[in-house]
Subunit: 339 residues, 2 copies
Amino acid sequence: MQKRLGRQTVVLERPSVILSHAAVGGKQEGEGPLSAYFDHLCADSFFGEKTWEKAESAMQKIALSKALEKATLSPEDLDYILAGDLLNQCIGTSFGLRDFNIPFYGLYGACSTMGESLALGSLLISGGCAEKAGAMTSSHFCTAERQYRMPVPYGSQRTPTAQWTATAAGCVILGCEGPGPRVTTVTCGKIVDQGITDANNMGAAMAPAAYDTLTTHFAATGTGPADYDLILTGDLGLLGHQIVTDLFARDGVDLSQKYQDCGMLLYDIQKQDMHAGASGCGCAASVLCGYLLREMEEGRWRRVLFAPTGALLSPTSSFQGESIPGICHAVTLEMPEKE
Amino acid sequence: MQKRLGRQTVVLERPSVILSHAAVGGKQEGEGPLSAYFDHLCADSFFGEKTWEKAESAMQKIALSKALEKATLSPEDLDYILAGDLLNQCIGTSFGLRDFNIPFYGLYGACSTMGESLALGSLLISGGCAEKAGAMTSSHFCTAERQYRMPVPYGSQRTPTAQWTATAAGCVILGCEGPGPRVTTVTCGKIVDQGITDANNMGAAMAPAAYDTLTTHFAATGTGPADYDLILTGDLGLLGHQIVTDLFARDGVDLSQKYQDCGMLLYDIQKQDMHAGASGCGCAASVLCGYLLREMEEGRWRRVLFAPTGALLSPTSSFQGESIPGICHAVTLEMPEKE
C-alpha cells in the first residue's frame, strides 16, 4: 500500500520513473535562455497549420511523438495519457491526441496541469493501475490572448504585472523502471482564493495556493527547503515568486537560496520585455521537460520539488465580479543515488 | 496489485464502495419521470444566484453537501474530489468547490465526466492513494446554450436531432467499505472521431466512442450483454442509442434487451418536447446519483455497466471546420450478494 501522509500527500510505494521527456516551443522560447533545452522549436506561430488553435494541437502532437521516440516506444505502449490545456473545452489536447489511439483521461488544472498530470499518472502507476503513462500539456500565446484578453492584432498594452503566455508544450513518459528521475511523492493542492480580482496579476492570485501546497508538503513529509536542491514553482513570475518568498519569510523560513519559478526562467525578462515573466501551462511543462529534467539527469540537482500553479478563472467569472481561485500541485522528483 | 486486462481495463483489487450519492435538478428535471429520485429540485434556474454560471456552482455545492450529509461525513473527511463541468475553464466546478477546502483534481471529460471522475476516484482508492473521495459534475441548460449555441432569450429553433442540456448535478462519495454498490472494474476510453461535423447531432458523434469502449470492455472482461442487468450509456439520446444498438447488431450482438441511455430517461421526451433527449454532464450524473444507484440499492439491478459519453468539441473547433471527437469511460457497478 501507498504511504499516505495526511490527506494531501502520498509517498509512492512504487515511484514512477521518467522514461523520457520532450519540450516544444515557439519563437520567443527559442530566443530565451533555455533555447538549447528544447527538442523542437518553430519560429512560425502557426506550426504549419491554418489556425493558432490547430497550432497548439500540433505542438502536443510533436511533444508526444518526440517523447515516445526518445523512449523507443510507440503510442500502443502507453496505457493512458493524462493531459489538458487552457483552451475552452481543452481542444488543444483533444485534437492533438485524436489520432494516437491512447486511452485518455482529460484534465483541467489551468497552468498547474503539468503537475496534475504527473501526479495522477504517478499515482496510477504506483497503485498498479498502469505500467506506462503519458503526462502532457500546452499553451499558446495567441490562442490564450484571443480567449482571455484581446486578439493579438488589436495590440493592447500590457500592465507591468502581466505575464506572457508561453507558446510551448511538454510531455513526460512515465514508467516503472529505468535510470531516470523518479516521482517519489505527490501533494495534491486545494483551491485557495485570497480575493485577488486583477486578471492581469496572476502571480499574486496563484501565490497563496503555492504557499499552501508547499507548507502542507513540508509539514506532511517532515522536510524543509534544506532537504531539496531546488524548489521550482509554476508560472508565478517575478511578483508571485516574491510573494511566496515573503509568505515563507513571515513564518521564519528562508526559501530564497533554493527557490526558483518557471515563469522567471523561460525568457530573458528584461531583454525580451516580458514584464512579470512567463505563464501558461506550456511554461512549467517546457521548463520541466527541457531544462529541469535534463539538468537533473546530468547531475546538477538530485532532489527537486516541482510545484506548478494554476489560476482557475475564466473571462466569464471575471466579468461577473469573481475573484481568482488558485491551485498548486507538487511532486518530488529524485535522481536515484549512483551505486 | 490491480488486475489489468489489456491497456484500458482494470479489475479493482479493492473495489471502491459508493457511500452516498446526491442528485440536484432544475425545473424540467422536476417535471420529468425521474423527479422523485432527486435530492433537491429548484424551479428557479438561477438557484437564488445572480447569474446562471453561479447557479451551476450552487448546484455543485448542494450536490456535494447533500452527499456528505447522507454519508454523515464532513468535507475534511474526503481525501480528494475529482470533478469538472462543461463551462469554459470548468468554472462551475472551481467556484462550486472553492469553499470546501478539499484537495482537488480537476477533470475535463465533457459529458463523460461522471464516468471519468468515478473511474479515477475508484482507481485512486483501489491503489491505496485515498480512503474517501468525491466524484462530481454538473451542467446547466442556460450556461450551455449561451456558451455553445445561442443565448436563451434569442429563442433559436432547435433541430430534431438536438438534445436538451440537463440543468442538474450529481455527486458520489466513494470509500473502502460499506453495504452500497461497488465500482468493480474501470475501462478508460479512447478518443474516437468518425467525422461527424453537425454540432446539433451529438448522439451520432458520441455513439462510435460508446461502441468502442463497450466492445473493448466486453472483450477484456470476457463478458457480454447477458452478464449485466443493465447497460446504461451517457447522454446519447434517441439517435445515439439507436446507432449503438445498430453497431452491435452488425456484430451479431443483441443489446436491445439490456440497453438504456441516460439521455432517454431524464425527461418524458414526447411530452416535454425534448427532441432527441437529454444531454450535458448533469444528465448522466443525476440519472446515476438519483435513479440508478437508488434502484440498485433497492435490488432492481445487481450488475450495471455505466458508460457516460462526451463530445470533445468547442464552438471554436466547429467554426474551424473540425469534426467532433467523442470519448466514453465505463465502470461496472455491482451490489454485493446478500449473505
